[in-house]
Each structure stands twice: as structure tokens, then as C-alpha cells.
């Protein structure tokens, strides 16, 4: 492909009818469909967060009733976890980029890919149905026996929704695994793959191995509610902790489903904007797999005060500390990549910096929760909330926004406004820290999570947090505006606006043609070969 500035026939112009979008098997279009759907769910989940943050401005529960408050945080959790974060980077950007990055025409199973989107939408509709008819008040964790016996809300409907949505991520994960194994371009060996691909491979493993266990746990809750049998209900001989084991077997690794793809994004961005190969490439690649594998050994650290056996607690705590190592390896290697680089401060790089800093804090505070004697105190307090928002918002969403800004020119062929995008990145960073840092303090002071009303001594930190949340909310709205604007008025991007390495930048146009490449590229060099020396590392 000779450097065409905005080719006439690309994947966007291949058809304009609604039907051409709804029946597409083009991974790029499916990626865009996912991007639109998850943006919708992000706004729904965000709105809920705004409402309960406002409620928490004052100690008594005065803005919304306790019942509504409980439904709001449940909505926020379920929508953000299952309908936004889990599909965010993998289903939107992974779908778009995995074939492009490995030099393939499409994913291995294009129809399954389309099916995955439909299944996702169906699951999302069930969830919305449950929310609109009255909501669910169990928290996203669905702990039994509250969820299975006591809650009078639409738990079964929501369970069906999550069960269905689970299949969509299984389909995506399965597709990625097979695609990465079988469809790499000639010459593209495993250790030449971009780290984004490594991260998605590891993510897919977790999806494929973990999701079915969540499906079973949710299914059993549903069966218990519908037929009155008692698998988790202690009143009929069941053990509620079994549910927690099955739930966290998936839901702890699910944290890595959310963070690993963003780690992959950060690797791409850091390499591009320092014009250097990622330092310790192989260590970073293997660290992704290590996180995926270790991630399955640690779920019991969510259960240190659940009356789980003390000895199981010891085992899970011990294993939990092992996950710290590959995460630390990644952070150190990204930082080392900057050393003697040529560092540019384009918007994606700002998000990558934000990611590294905030993920470091999120990861380190995770150690507090893995430490047995300390977790007893901070478990189920705002400390936990702060910790996982540093991982999921400070980490995963920063990575998601980084990806959005990095590959937007590739997806749309247009550039957005630099000034506005940098401004909003800054706003988001400030707003985020103001929202969640006070919550660490709140947690250690002993404010439990999921509290509709709280003791007046906690108010100062809650006010700070709510103030931060309003800044953060504004920060999230700005990109929607300038990105939409760029679709119509943005400058044409050209195939490679950042001067980045990688097949998606060097071997195809922006936006790419329907079949991605004029001819399947042959790869002869390492990933991120910015110096042109093809050095092993």
C-alpha cells in the first residue's frame, strides 16, 4: 500500500446502511459496534456513580432512599464491571487491532465474533430490563444467601443477563486464542509479537478459564431462587462460602481481564512515544502470562474474614504476594524504557504516564489487602474501594482512554484537537486522584463500604471525594465532544500519524481497507524496532 491519505474504500465506506453494520463480520466494524455499546454502558454506570456520590455529600441518607442507594451502587458495579470494563479494551480495541497487528485478514471465526456482540447486547438488555423494572440490590458480588433467598429484587433477571453476557466474552476470548495461534503473518514469531497481543492472549486465557465458573455460580443462584432448592442456603444445609469461592475464582482473575489489556496498550504507547523498544520485552511478555496463571491462585484473599479456614487464608495470602512480582516487573520495565528515549508528550503518552503512576499506587495498596492481619481491618471498607478504583479507573480506564486516543486516527482516519485532549487528560488525572485518594483514608478510619448513611466524622473526606467525582465526570465528557467533532472536522490522519512501528501503522491505511492489507505482510524484524537495528532483548 502506497501512502494513501484517506483511501476511498475503507472499512467505514464499505456500506452505509444499518444492515451493513448489523450483519458485518468485519472485526473492525464489530470493534466499533462494541465501542459504541460500551460507551453507552459507561454513561449509565457513570450516572449512577454521580447520583450516589451526591448522596454521600452529607452524612445522613437524605437525597435518595436507602433502597435506591443500594440499587444505584449495584447498578454501578454490575454495569461497569460486566458491561463496560470486561469488554472495554479487549472487545473494542482488541477486536479492531488483533488481526491488524498480527497481519491477518480477520479473526479466526468472524461469525462467532458477530455473534459475540449480539450476545453481549442481549445480556446487556436483560441487565437493563432488570434495572428499569425495579433494579437489583445485591451488590455486584451477589453474595448468598442474600441474593438467593432474601433479596426481593430482580436478581434472577440480572443473573440471566450476566450469564448471557459471559458467553460474549468467552466467544471473544476463544476467537483471540485461536487467531493468535493460527493466523500470525509469515515471520511473526511469538517473541516478535507486540506486547498488546501478549496481553490479549493472557486475557483470553483468563476469560476462557474463569468465565464458565462464574456462569455456574450465577446459574446456581438463579436455580436456587426459581426452584427453591438450597445449594448455598444454610437453612437447607448449604454453605454460603461455596458461592464466594466460585464467584471469586472468576472475579479475582477478572480484575486481570480488565487490567492486562490496558497494560498492553501502555506498552504500545510508551514504545511509540519514547521511540524505543520496550525495555525487557521478553520479561514484560512473560509477565502477562504469569499474571494470568498466578491470578487464579489467589481468590481466597477476598475471604480472609469470611470464616474461611485460617489455613486456607495463609495459603491464599502467600500466593497473592506472588502476583505482585510480575506487576512490579512491568512497571519497572516501562519506566526503564523512558531512559535515554526520545519522549513526546502527545495525549496517549499522558494517559500512559497516568496509568503507570496510578497503577503503581493501586498495586501497592493491593499488598495491604493481601496482608492477612491488615486486611482484617481494611476489608469491606473504603480502602478496598479506593484500591480497586486505582486499578480499574486509574489503570484500566486510563489505558482505555490511552488506546482511544492512540488508535482513534487509525479507526477513523481523523485527528482530534491536541489542546482539548491534553486538557481533558489533565482534568481526568486531577479529578481521579481527588475522588479516590481520600477514600484510602476513609477506609483506614473505618468507614465500611456500601453505606447509605455514615457517621459525621467521615464527612470531610466524602466531600473531597464527591468534589473530585464532579471534576472527573466533566473530564470524561470533554473527549466525547472533541472526538465527535473530529469525525467531521478533524484533519486527515494519514496512515501513521505518530510515526509508530507495527503492522497496523506501517502496512495499511487509516482507516484500513475491508481486508486490512493489500497483501499479507511478511515480518522480518522485532517489535518496536524504532532504532532499526533489530536488536534482541
Amino acid at each position: 500500500m502506497t501512502a494513501a491519505v484517506e483511501p476511498k474504500d475503507n472499512y467505514l465506506t464499505a456500506g452505509f446502511s444499518l444492515k451493513s453494520w448489523l450483519t458485518t463480520t468485519d472485526h473492525k466494524r464489530i470493534g466499533v459496534l462494541y465501542l459504541l455499546s460500551i460507551t453507552f454502558f459507561f454513561l449509565v454506570g457513570g450516572l449512577a456513580a454521580v447520583l450516589f456520590r451526591l448522596e454521600l455529600l452529607t452524612p445522613p441518607g437524605d437525597l435518595v432512599s436507602a433502597d435506591s442507594y443500594n440499587k444505584l451502587f449495584t447498578l454501578h458495579g454490575i454495569v461497569m464491571v460486566f458491561l463496560f470494563l470486561i469488554p472495554s479494551v479487549p472487545a473494542a480495541f482488541g477486536n479492531f487491532l488483533v488481526p491488524l497487528m498480527i497481519g491477518a485478514k480477520d479473526l479466526a471465526f468472524p461469525k462467532l465474533n458477530l455473534a459475540s456482540w449480539y450476545v453481549f447486547v442481549l445480556g446487556g438488555l436483560f441487565a437493563l430490563w432488570a434495572l428499569l423494572t425495579g433494579g437489583v440490590d445485591t451488590g455486584w458480588t451477589f453474595y448468598t444467601p442474600y441474593s438467593s433467598t432474601y433479596s426481593n429484587t430482580y436478581v434472577s433477571l440480572m443473573a440471566i443477563g450476566i450469564f448471557i453476557a459471559g458467553f460474549s466474552s468467552i466467544f471473544t476470548g476463544l476467537n483471540f486464542i485461536v487467531t493468535i495461534h493460527k493466523m500470525r503473518a509469515p515471520g511473526l514469531t511469538w517473541f516478535r509479537l507486540p506486547l498488546f497481543i501478549w496481553a490479549h492472549y493472557a486475557t483470553s486465557l483468563i476469560i476462557v478459564l474463569g468465565t464458565p465458573v462464574l456462569a455456574v455460580a450465577i446459574l446456581l443462584v438463579g436455580v436456587e431462587r426459581l426452584f427453591g432448592i438450597g445449594i448455598f442456603n444454610p437453612a437447607i444445609g448449604g454453605d454460603p462460602l461455596l458461592f464466594q469461592h466460585l464467584f471469586w475464582f472468576y472475579s479475582h482473575p477478572a480484575v486481570y481481564i480488565m487490567i492486562l489489556p490496558s497494560m498492553g496498550v501502555v506498552s504500545e504507547i510508551v514504545a511509540c512515544f519514547s521511540r524505543k523498544r520496550i525495555f525487557g520485552y521478553k520479561f514484560v511478555a512473560i509477565a502477562s502470562l504469569a499474571i494470568a496463571v498466578y491470578g487464579f491462585l489467589v481468590w481466597g484473599h477476598h475471604m480472609f474474614v469470611s470464616s474461611q479456614s485460617v489455613y486456607a487464608g495463609l495459603i491464599f495470602s502467600f500466593l497473592s504476594f506472588f502476583v505482585a512480582v510480575p506487576s512490579a516487573v512491568k512497571v519497572f520495565n516501562w519506566t526503564a524504557t523512558l531512559y535515554k528515549g526520545s519522549i513526546a508528550f502527545d495525549t496517549p503518552m499522558l494517559y500512559a504516564f497516568g496509568f503507570i503512576g496510578l497503577f503503581t499506587i493501586g498495586g501497592l495498596t493491593g499488598l495491604f489487602l493481601a496482608t492477612l492481619g491488615l486486611d482484617v481491618h481494611v476489608h469491606d471498607t473504603y480502602f478496598v474501594i479506593a484500591h480497586f478504583h486505582y486499578i480499574m479507573v486509574g489503570g484500566a480506564i486510563m489505558g482505555y482512554l490511552g488506546a482511544l486516543h492512540f488508535w482513534w486516527p487509525k479507526m477513523t482516519g481523523r485527528m482530534y484537537t491536541e489542546g482539548w485532549s491534553k486538557f481533558s487528560a489533565l482534568i481526568i488525572f486531577i479529578g481521579f486522584n481527588l475522588t479516590f485518594f481520600p477514600q484510602f483514608i476513609l477506609g483506614y478510619l473505618g468507614m465500611p463500604r456500601r453505606y447509605h448513611a455514615y457517621s459525621p466524622e467521615f464527612q470531610v473526606y466524602n466531600v473531597l471525594s464527591t468534589a473530585g467525582a464532579s471534576i472527573l465526570g466533566a473530564g470524561y465528557v470533554i473527549p466525547i465532544i472533541y472526538l465527535l467533532w473530529s469525525l467531521f472536522r478533524g484533519k486527515p490522519a494519514g496512515p501513521n500519524p505518530w510515526g509508530a512501528k507495527g503492522l497496523e501503522w506501517e502496512k495499511t491505511s487509516s482507516p484500513p481497507p475491508v481486508h486490512n492489507f493489500a497483501e499479507i505482510p511478511t515480518v522480518t524484524e522485532e517489535a518496536y524496532n524504532y532504532s532499526g537495528t533489530n536488536e534482541q532483548g
Binding site: 481466597g300 479456614s309 485460617v310 486456607a312 495459603i315
Partner: protein, 99 residues
């Protein structure tokens, strides 16, 4: 993933072995072996599963990747079972002070 090496004769032999193992597992269940009953039943079942996987499912003649996938299934199943049971089986270990 070629299955050229597995003949119909092999299938029949495997089938015969499986049927014999069914009878063995039923027979063993009538003996009182204490905890060994579970062990025996699971060992036989595992052996049968291996036979089905290796021959009927062609793992024996498949690429290394298929071995890895099948192995991963077993490995993660063991993690799920072992770490969950590490809770339920050790709960009674901690002793209260006996005054």
C-alpha cells in the same frame, strides 16, 4: 491433529477396555474400602477419561498445542478443586482454647 494412526481396531479395543472398567468400578463400589473407595472410583474414572481423550478424541496423535489445551483443562480444574477444598477440609484444624 491427524488421526491417521488410530485404526478401527484400536477403537474397538479401547471400547472393550472402557466397558470392562465400567464393570470394575461397579464391582469395587461393593467392597468396603473406607476412604479408598473414592480413590479407586476416581482413579478408574480418570483412567477411562484418559482413554477417551487419547483415542476417541485423538489427543494421542494431535499436535502439542492440543496436549497443552487438554492439560490446561486438567490443571485449572485441579486448582479450582484443591484451593477450594483447602478451605473446607482445614476448617476444623484450628483449635479453640480448652480452658
Amino acid at each position: 491433529m491427524s488421526s491417521a494412526a488410530i485404526t478401527k481396531k484400536t477403537y474397538v479395543a479401547v471400547y472393550a477396555a472402557l466397558m470392562i472398567l465400567v464393570l470394575v468400578t461397579v464391582g469395587v463400589a461393593y467392597l468396603d474400602l473406607g476412604l479408598l473407595n473414592v480413590v479407586a472410583a476416581m482413579t478408574i474414572a480418570f483412567f477411562k477419561a484418559i482413554l477417551v481423550a487419547l483415542y476417541f478424541m485423538h489427543v494421542r496423535t494431535s499436535s502439542r498445542l492440543v496436549w497443552v489445551v487438554a492439560g490446561a483443562g486438567v490443571y485449572w480444574l485441579v486448582i479450582l478443586l484443591a484451593l477450594t477444598m483447602s478451605d473446607f477440609l482445614t476448617r476444623a484444624w484450628i483449635t479453640i482454647p480448652t480452658f
